[in-house]
């Protein structure tokens, strides 16, 4: 049984003051009141200990007891995480449902991982081998595509004894002992790690390869490197969540951790319904077999929302340490920041901008800095890429969360209300978005896809910015007043926008485009531009070019040409060449 360490003296929403709890330490998990709600120590002032409670505190009274656990807020790490859906403090929602029904009751405690399920463990080290933290003693198949390595926990080093034979074990059974000096450390398949502390890194590396998302505006214009960080801010209705879902579905990470942080319940349901049915384009297995969900929807307790981000990233670090590429998507970090603000307000702290606490920027930095590429002890490479949605009030990017986030991320996808109103999705604004990863991943593209990637990309950006300038004139005098070469720029920019940047998340073929297809599409567009430019110089009017039949094919190529028919792009270029030649002939 847990020991009572103090009693409650004040309750204000999710913040509770206690007295007489001298033994409690900072960040320690406590159980609050007779109903044993879960809470965490966040301040110690003289006699008084301030606790934030992860559940609704209605009905809690002064004088009720506080119990200490001696542990900071921790997550369980071991096989069985993948395919699960947890709340903000890693309680499995499936188990909560079985225990308490459709609505989440208070004071329910369940283990994150299934204690009874047996896993087929295959040792790869034997008695007498020395082992140090981060090295694998063996592995289990967690899903058909994920080999889950059982790692020696951080800061333990010694000689192995009593390694069990290959066979089926539960996560709590001892699979080996490690002799550290005179003492023994029992090794099981599960370890606990405090969520607010970064797991130690053996060696950091620089990001080198891109996280391919299959979304053209991202991969080609504003790419994100594996191990890097991105923010996607946008007002409501700009398609943040759909873009996050698209990335979670199609990106080439090994493990996806999706944190629904203070967002809609129905969106989590959508993920739960859709993902098991979709196929990972690389492994051919169900997408749920690489996904972990953390769901703390907007009506669930705000304190657990604050913790959900850390719960998610700690699990990400665990898989990173096994040498996997993990993509962590958080939707939305603004709701997390608001949770900070609410708790800070209830503690009567001095507010900084817009009521947010002064430590907002520090917390954001701590979170994003847990991304990165690392070399594991085993010599393999793992990474965490963090993609955080931001929900700026009224879509105004000058608000504190967006502004501070921009300081700590390397890729910025600004979502645009006007584009969304035109039903241009993904509504990534090409004028204010940026990527700091372009130079890092250039080599990868040259080596694996196409050596002209960077120059093509830069040309597209240039055409789009030219268009922006020209549109200002068009608004005043109409497009007919422009010379033909400028009207050609407008035409090409329109092709780029509609046939390349717009991508339909619900279209079977268009929802995902491989890097090869993306390059091929771009090559067609730029080929058309070059050919058209030549004949404009020979005074063939733009209206004739606009009337070319092949343009229809160009506009439809994203939906017409499948991934296994990429050679058809070559045919499209030929058709462009023929039609343009015909046009020139008719003017001779």
């Amino acid at each position: 049984m847990l020991k009572q360490v103090g009693k409650i003296i004040m309750i204000n929403g999710s913040i509770i003051h206690t007295t007489g709890a001298d033994t409690l330490s900072m960040m320690e998990i406590v159980e609050v009141g007779q109903s044993h709600l879960i809470g965490e120590v966040i301040k110690i002032i003289d006699e008084k200990v301030v606790i934030q409670v992860y559940e609704d505190t209605s009905g809690i009274k002064p004088e009720e007891p506080i119990y200490g656990t001696g542990m900071p807020l921790s997550v369980e790490l071991g096989p069985g995480l993948i395919g699960s859906i947890f709340d903000g403090i890693q309680r499995p929602l499936q188990k909560l449902w079985e225990k308490t029904g459709s609505f989440i009751q208070k004071g329910v405690q369940v283990n994150a991982l299934d204690q009874k399920r047996k896993w087929h463990f295959v040792p790869q080290k034997t008695d007498g081998d020395s082992i140090k933290s981060g090295e694998a003693i063996g592995w289990v198949w967690e899903t058909t595509s994920i080999k889950h390595f059982i790692l020696c926990p951080p800061s333990i080093e010694g000689k192995l004894e009593n390694v069990v034979a290959e066979g089926d074990y539960t996560i709590s059974q001892t699979i080996a002992k490690i002799r550290v000096g005179e003492r023994y450390h029992k090794l099981t398949m599960v370890q606990k790690w405090p969520v607010r502390i970064e797991r130690p890194i053996y060696k950091r590396q620089l990001p080198k390869s891109p996280l391919i998302t299959g979304q053209r505006v991202i991969d080609l214009l504003f790419p994100l490197a594996k191990g890097s960080t991105a923010a996607l801010p946008g007002g409501f209705g700009t398609g943040k969540t759909i873009l996050q879902h698209q990335i979670a579905k199609w990106c080439d990470a090994d493990i996806i951790i999706y944190i629904g942080c203070g967002e809609r319940g129905n969106e989590m349901t959508e993920v739960l319904v859709e993902f098991p049915e979709l196929q990972d384009p690389r492994s051919g297995r169900s997408l749920m077999e690489r996904t972990i969900l953390v769901a703390n929807t907007s009506n669930m307790p705000v304190t657990a929302r604050e913790a959900s981000i850390y719960t998610g990233i700690t699990m990400a670090e665990y898989y990173r340490d096994m040498g996997y590429d993990v993509a962590l998507l958080a939707d939305s970090t603004s709701r997390w920041a608001e949770a900070l603000r609410e708790l800070s307000g209830r503690m009567e702290e001095m507010p900084a901008e817009e009521g947010f606490p002064a430590y907002l920027a520090t917390r954001l930095a701590q979170f994003y800095e847990r991304a990165g590429v690392v070399e594991t002890v085993e010599g393999t490479k793992g990474s965490i890429s963090v993609i955080g949605a931001v929900s700026p009030p009224s879509g105004d990017f000058s608000e504190p969360v967006t502004m501070h986030t921009k300081r700590f991320i390397s890729t910025f996808w600004g979502l645009d209300k006007d584009l969304a109103n035109e039903r241009h999705y993904p509504s990534v604004n090409w004028l204010n978005s940026y990527s700091d990863n372009l130079d890092d991943i250039q080599e990868w593209w040259q080596e694996h896809v196409d050596h002209t990637w960077r120059s093509m990309r830069d040309r597209v950006v240039e055409i789009l910015s030219q268009e922006d300038e020209l549109q200002k004139i068009v608004k005043l005098v109409g497009s007919d007043a422009l010379p033909d070469n400028q009207r050609l720029v407008l035409l090409i920019a329109r092709i780029i926008r509609e046939s390349f940047l717009q991508q339909n998340a619900y279209h079977d073929i268009d929802k995902y485009a491989s890097p090869q297809k993306q390059i091929a599409m771009l090559r067609v567009i730029l080929f058309f531009y070059d050919e058209a430019k030549k004949i404009i110089k020979r005074s063939i009017p733009i209206s004739r070019i606009q009337g070319l039949a092949v343009l229809g094919d160009v506009f439809r190529m994203k939906e017409d040409i499948k991934e296994n028919q990429l050679d058809q792009f070559r045919g499209l270029e030929d058709k462009i060449y023929q039609e343009i030649t015909c046009l020139v002939e008719s003017y001779k």
Binding site: S58, F103, E270
Partner: protein, 464 residues
Amino acid sequence: MTLINKEYTNLKKILGPLIVVEGVEGAGYGEMVEIALKGHPLRHGRVLQVDEQRAVIEVYQGTINIAKKNCKVHFKGKPMVVRVSKEMLGRMFNGMGEPTDGMPSPMDGDQRDINGLPLNPICRTYPRDYIETGISIIDLMTTLIRGQKLPIFSGNGLPHNKLVAQIIRQANISEQGNENFAIVLAAMGLKNNEAEFFKQNFETMGAAKNVAMFLNLADDPSIERLVTPRVALTAAEYLAFDLGMHVLVILTDMANYAEALREVSSAREEVPSRKGYPGYFYSDLASLYERAGRIKGHKGSITQLPILSMPNDDITHPIPDLTGFITEGQIILERELTVRNVYPPVNVFPSLSRLMKNGIGKGMTRDDHPALASQLYAAYSHVKNIRSLVQVIGEDEISELDKCYLHFGEILEKKLINQGYYEKRTMEETLDLAWQVLSILPEEVLNRVSREQLEKHYGNKNSR
């Protein structure tokens, strides 16, 4: 616990809607309080903060007439509850859930905590199927899906109450008849005239049997508005998840709710965030809106249609802004259309129903619905572009096709969007009407609908 019957007569402070009681023992956070004041009806309140000596209480009926020593405060030892029963349908209540139609309170039924509990996301089922409002532009372009929360953003002086009354009168779930369908109206800060309007409508309506109304009037204490939607949603949850009904909850006007929330927050001297609204404004709104949905293993659903008037028509104001972040789309009313006598003045462009794709099309509305809606949207946005061009260069300078588009835009607004207050259009009628309007445009420019659909519906060859 035995402390329940203890009464306190000594108030320390009275601050706006809040009272502070000294020397309290055993009061729990969030529990209900009764305040007895001689010569006045019993008042109710809730504990907002409690420590060893004092409790801060918000008094729902306001603190007028309360003095430091003239009242008895009684802690109930449980959160605020409401008695739920099927008998609530066809009845009218005040904002606290007490009957105002002269009949006694429903006697049978459970007592439920009005704050509800968060729904486990894993238990939700994805919203599908639609509710027919009988209003063309909503059914066609922003279809309301069962389990969805779809707000109407309006402005002062726009006919949102009229629209609400029309929806209450007309809404139905077409394929199952209406035995399984109920409407719960929660009105916060309703003007007396508006309340009278609703009452009269209510009495003349044949469909009143399946409606429950909770009306908090503008001159009722503002703090009561914090209770009204919760009482209504608790009743709705009972109807939906205990009785298996499809319930449409209309919350109007959320702006008044938000004002009340700000008032209490400022009386508590909390640190404000934007425009004086409390830092937990988003979470508080979510605690209402997220009570919409469907649950695995239950037949019923809760669909929410919150109405809010945007202060000064400003969509970036915190009330519509935070609402938009929680709800699944929005229907926006526009002043300019009202001026041109178009009712309901729905601005199609920024309006959106995010869940629409799951509730329309083959087997639900009609197979041509998705393509038709997308084609109308595309054509109508082209009209918008031409209109701004015409302002610069004049109507004579544009092409014949563009003139045709202008005509199409005109008819779309006059015939399709515009609709009589007593005119109910079925989904079928709406879709046919939409094709009729679309057929003003030449067949060649309609590239978002398929050849077969054109064949079948263009010019309404078969249906008319």
